[in-house]
């Protein structure tokens, strides 16, 4: 077994008396798609928030590609190549689709105040290259016609597509996708699933929170089950399906 790309050990955090994460530990192998499932309140999104550094203060350790990122700032984690999406497709309300795509470009020289003022060829060329990539991405996601729209004007499905597009523009090594297909019409679900398969084939690892078991079965090489802030089980989808603990805590509930 290859060395873990993302290693989580004993991650715990509580909000008041609620133990949102209660000693979760598991490894994620490089380059595969891992499904993260579990009942609502199992701590899946909290786990993403802790890994991505948006909620500081968790105990335990997170290592990404051998580097301890447990106390790193969220921007440092993104720059290391571990980029997340948001469940509710958050966005900057006064920025357009195009600006969102451009925003995610990594290591932009023009973000340095002095270089921004002086300008110069390097800054301009990088900006042009990024612009080409953003337009290209918009085309692939069929967002070209809404590029100049504020994100608040997008439909739910378009927001989900933008979420995937901007995460990819950050040139990540691993992406954490929080329900990228929730609340989207069936045709678009298939379209997004196709995109995820292509992403996986390009070598980017995916950790996917998803409730639709058919999609988990289709997309994921491995499934991790969480319940009550803890790691419960892992394995292939068929392993998980036949696991009694999992049936009781999650899948079983769905059959009622």
């Amino acid at each position: 077994m290859a060395e873990a790309q993302l290693a989580i050990s004993d991650l715990a955090i509580h909000f008041g008396g609620v133990r949102a994460l209660d000693g979760a530990s598991f490894d994620i192998r490089p380059g595969i798609t891992t499904g993260l499932i579990g009942p609502n309140g199992a701590g899946k999104t909290t786990l993403f928030n802790c890994i991505s550094g948006l909620i500081p203060g968790a105990s335990g350790q997170v290592r990404f590609e051998g580097r301890d990122i447990s106390r790193a700032r969220p921007e440092a984690i993104s720059r290391a190549g571990l980029v997340r999406s948001f469940q509710l497709a958050r966005g900057c309300e006064n920025l357009t689709v195009f600006e969102h795509l451009m925003l995610y470009g990594p290591r932009q020289q023009g973000e340095n105040l002095l270089k921004a003022f002086i300008g110069g060829r390097a800054v301009r060329e990088q900006e042009e290259k990024l612009r080409d990539e953003a337009l290209d991405m918009a085309g692939r996601l069929r967002l070209t016609h809404v590029l100049d729209n504020l994100v608040t004007r997008l439909s739910g499905g378009q927001k989900k597509l933008l979420e995937i597009g901007r995460v990819l523009l950050a040139k990540p090594k691993m992406i954490l996708l929080d329900e990228p297909m929730a609340g989207v019409n069936p045709t678009l679900v298939q379209e997004i699933a196709d995109h995820l398969e292509v992403i996986r084939r390009s070598g980017i690892a995916i950790v996917l929170i998803e409730h639709e078991m058919e999609l988990i079965d289709r997309l994921c090489d491995e499934v991790i089950v969480m319940a009550a802030g803890k790691f419960l089980a892992r394995g292939s989808f068929s392993d998980i399906q036949s696991n009694r603990d999992v049936q009781e805590s999650y899948l079983g509930l769905r059959r009622q």
């Binding site: 600006e99 921004a116 292509v198």
Partner: protein, 314 residues
Amino acid sequence: MISYLLFIGTLTAIYALLSLGLVASWGQAGMVNLGLVGFFGLGAYCSTLLTLLGLPIGLAWVAGGLLSAVMGIAFCLLTRTLRGDYLAIVTLGFGEGLRLVELNERWLTGGSDGISGIPAPFKAAAGELFPWLYFAIAWGIVLLAAWGLNRVLGSPFGRALRAVRDDENVAAVAGKSVLLLKCQAFGMGAALFGLAGALYAHFTSYISPDNFVVQLTIYIFLAVTLGGYSRLVGAILGAVAVMSILESSRFAAEFVPGLNAVQIASLREFAIAVALIIIMQVRPQGIFGLKNEKARAPAQPDTAPASVVSSHVK
């Protein structure tokens, strides 16, 4: 009449400079500075005291701006773990607190008597042309500041700032150094407030704590709101509009019979309040709306879903 108009014109330039500073920190980065008059005063006193010690006026202006910037960045760092509201509260306290220091530290600031006889650049050499000269210098600085801000705000730096303004978490996940960006934006704003204060002190040649009261902060917020809160051109236009309202209310008072001096002075504040209400009702986004980067995409319809990952990823 000409000298009155020049005086007002120069004061408008100083208001415009303050408005530009507020666009940088509030309009673009979303950081409310309710104590901008404090930074204005800090720049004024700093530059004044340094020139009285013999520093050339130009250098004293720069020093006034720098000291304000340092103070602004310090507040940013001080409140970094708190919600944005706390920065507003701290700066509000700073504005009032600094005024009390100016009032009470008589050995340094002359207390309520203020400091008079502040030297102005080329006053003797320019003679009667001095008001024209200062008018040109002040507006020159405004245009220079607007040009510089336009350059940095139109770059990826500005895009990252606006992302921080709208949603810090999104900006952080996009890999932006949120704290650094905030400090830079707030520092730039504070530097312009300080520079405006220095310009003001050497223009009127007299400063006292009465010049640095909270009303000025409100005028500048009004100017920026009026112009479209994130726009540089709006800030300059808003400053002109606010000054026009303030000064025209002076003349309007003559047409309202039976007002005493105190009531005439109050008319100014009343006119400003009415203006603010009208703007909010008629055009809440200000004269100039948001300015977004255009994609300039080729006008071709989106084709069928293509592979989302191309050669540029890996």
